[in-house]
């Protein structure tokens, strides 16, 4: 049984003078949700495009579902679905026609394609506008159709590049639920997102890419503990941060800290107990050299 859905070793990609990926190593366990985070231009889309055989790496190796992305591209294509960062649907066709076309191209019979199309229209709440030309769709509807189209075939590995960008809260929740269900069926999901709480809630493991390399990788909990413990924060009148003290979160430790503060600050001062968030991790890992990836 293979336990690793995606293996990446020493992957490099350069566009002209600009090194976008500078030696990426990653292992994504099968049947998990893996989130790739990183600032704009960090190379998330580039990495997904390489893994889905759209782009050639300059150096390094990668395997998806056990198939080499350079020498076994047909086998990789049979193993993946992709929702790219920008919707890839045909505006001059209706939603139903788009889905039917991709069903047929994915290997469904004519009647199988019709059944799968109806199923996906229902699942993505597109039945009411199924017969309208996609060019008349709103951005979020287009996005939903794009997601539906990439779920036409059932493949062991699913790439989602910023899947929830532009979705309203209800659609986003629905998508989270679908992604979790797919994971529970054993499908590996590799996604990128700019919403860190999304990665926090959804992903089994998270990697942060910055400066062309993986700056950190682990569970949300592991990443958070890397940058410190819980803190007691003192707040001013406008909720601004006056001071912060590390704590292990236990009653005795908090009591000790508060006792020490008792004489020093006014009794009106407000306090807050704060756990490190993924935002803190992200900022700590990427802020130091915010434009390195772009300027190199």
């Amino acid at each position: 049984m293979k336990n690793t859905a995606i293996t990446i070793r020493g992957l490099r990609k350069t566009y002209g003078q600009q090194t976008v990926l500078d030696g990426i190593d990653l292992d994504v366990p099968a049947g998990t949700i893996f989130a790739l985070l990183g600032p704009n231009g960090a190379g998330k889309t580039t990495l997904i495009n390489i893994l889905s055989t759209l782009t050639k790496p300059d150096e390094g190796k990668a395997a998806v579902n056990g198939h080499d992305i350079a020498s076994e591209r047909d086998a990789v294509k049979m193993s993946i679905s992709l929702t790219g960062q920008f919707a890839a649907v045909d505006g001059m066709l209706t939603a139903r026609e788009n889905l039917h076309m991709i069903c047929r191209l994915s290997g469904f019979s004519s009647s199988g394609a019709r059944a799968r199309t109806s199923e996906l229209l229902r699942l993505f709440d597109l039945e009411a506008s199924a017969g309208k030309l996609v060019k008349t769709y709103s951005g979020g509807m287009r996005r939903r159709l794009d997601l539906a189209v990439s779920l036409v075939a059932r493949r062991p590995v699913l790439f989602l590049d910023e899947p929830t960008t532009g979705l309203d809260t209800v659609s986003r929740r629905a998508l989270w639920k679908q992604i979790t269900e797919l994971r529970d069926e054993g499908i590996t999901i590799f996604l990128t997102t700019q919403y860190l709480e999304e990665a926090d809630q959804l992903a089994d493991r998270i990697a942060i890419i910055a400066g062309g390399r993986i700056a950190a990788e682990g569970t949300a909990q592991e990443l958070k503990s890397r940058i410190g413990e819980e803190r007691i924060e003192l707040l001013g009148d406008d909720e601004e941060l006056l001071a912060a003290y590390a704590t292990d979160g236990s009653l005795q430790d908090i009591r000790r800290t508060l006792n020490e503060l008792a004489g020093k600050v006014s009794p009106e001062t407000r306090i807050r107990l704060r756990k490190p968030s993924l935002d803190d991790v992200f900022v700590a890992l990427t802020e130091a050299k915010p434009f390195e990836g772009v300027l190199r």
């Binding site: 293979k2 336990n3 047909d74 790219g84 649907v89 001059m92 066709l93 047929r104 191209l105 062991p156």
Partner: protein, 266 residues
């Protein structure tokens, strides 16, 4: 760690090339039918040109009134040019708006998306040619052609459309945007005017005759003219076939190479 069941791909089989092609031909025909403006232009414009040439210029060019018989083959080719030029735009649109990446991640031969546009262009143009011939009869066109001559004429027209369409497809593949594609395509549409389409080349200045006699459109037009009106065919037929096949092969190679460069593994 809990054990993970292995996920099987469903559908497990790759789509056959025949189905892939059929799907893309169907898609392109549907797009052609939806792009009503282009479709109407492709039919109305040649018809208007024909009326213009027969009724407005015709009297001056050939006061005997036989001009319609002379000009019909030229109009048919002009029509083929108009109709296939939109292939450049269709192809360029597909290459630039993101959908090509969807096709490229599917386990199919993605070049078929271009084949689909070419097939639709052939269908569209043959339809337009039919309309033009129909109108020609209404305005006095008379032919001596029998069944075999018609068959040969339609064959050479289809071959010409195919060659031209692949040429426009290649232009669409190399153009940076749909509007650039439409611009480049426009240049080709001038070629019929520099041929024997509307006036015999003997009436042109000597330097222009050199161009007009040796460009591909002239033998194609002369071949159609001979087949339909019974004028001597001479070596035109072979020249026309050679030109069309030559252009077709070059355009095919150019298209495939450009497609590899733009949409292969890069």
């Amino acid at each position: 760690m809990k054990t993970v069941q292995t996920v099987q791909s469903v559908p497990a089989r790759k789509t056959s090339l025949a189905i892939t092609n059929a799907v893309f031909v169907g898609r392109s025909i549907r797009l052609s039918l939806r792009n009503t403006e282009a479709l109407i232009m492709a039919i109305v414009l040649p018809v208007m040109l024909m009326l213009l040439f027969t009724y407005v210029f015709g009297g001056a060019i050939d006061p005997g009134g036989d001009y319609v018989n002379y000009v019909v083959p030229g109009i048919i080719l002009l029509c083929a040019g108009f109709g296939s030029s939109s292939t450049a735009v269709d192809v360029s649109q597909d290459m630039t708006n993101g959908i090509i990446d969807r096709f490229r991640t599917l386990p199919i031969r993605s070049l078929s998306v271009i084949t689909g546009h070419v097939a639709a262009s052939l269908a569209r143009n043959l339809l337009a040619t039919g309309v033009v011939i129909g109108v020609a009869f209404l305005v006095g066109f008379r032919t001596s052609a029998g069944f075999l001559e018609w068959l040969a004429a339609i064959g050479i027209i289809a071959l010409f459309i195919l060659a031209l369409t692949w040429l426009f497809a290649a232009i669409g593949l190399v153009a940076g945007s749909p509007s650039a594609a439409s611009g480049y395509g426009f240049i080709l549409l001038f070629l019929p005017y520099l041929s024997s389409a509307f006036v015999p080349t003997a009436t042109m200045p000597r330097w222009l005759q050199g161009v007009a006699n040796h460009q591909p459109i002239t033998p194609v037009i002369e071949t159609i003219r001979s087949l339909l009106t019974g004028s001597p065919i001479g070596h035109h037929a072979w020249l026309a076939a050679a030109w069309c096949v030559g252009i077709l092969l070059l355009a095919l190679l150019w298209s495939v190479a450009s497609f590899r460069r733009k949409a292969g593994h890069r």
